[in-house]
Subunit: 109 residues, 2 copies
Amino acid sequence: MSVTRVASVIRLRAEKETEYRTLHKEVWPGVLTTLRQNGVTNFSIFLRDGTLFSYLEYQGEDFEESMARIAADETTKEWWKLTDPCQQPVDSAIELEWWAPAEELFHLD
Amino acid sequence: MSVTRVASVIRLRAEKETEYRTLHKEVWPGVLTTLRQNGVTNFSIFLRDGTLFSYLEYQGEDFEESMARIAADETTKEWWKLTDPCQQPVDSAIELEWWAPAEELFHLD
């Protein structure tokens, strides 16, 4: 089982900041369970200057497949109905991209 | 021994991107040793859209003191003479702030 670090960015809509903060103080247990069951560990979301930065460690064999499973989870879909309106892809995101990947330049274990 | 997650951001000067990437492919061993000796673990630097985002886990009792020790290390000072010219604080940084802190909104272990 390999561990992959995954970082990505998205904009937080200023008028939705309070709502987004509140939601993330009590993320639904079903959302967290689905993340864990699909190999997502040590997952944090940070905010600076209106940009959200996520960092997570993926323990699994097929990240794309795991992300697809998460996206297919009914509870997660309901959760995203609340969080998606708070977010806006960065200007440089490609079409249909939501969270946009950041590139790892350096790592020290 | 507690573990603290620390995230921060800074701009990467476009004209220095190649140099910064090259430097970080082979960070000096003395720099890495000093980081480790001062409680810095699981440290990554990511890049997206000209912004560098760093994530690290600090295992120690006094983060400020550890950072001061790192800043006092001669090898690290020499290293920063190379990396500092590649970076520029974000517009929202406070005076004398270099890497500017990001706020953790969410964490899943």
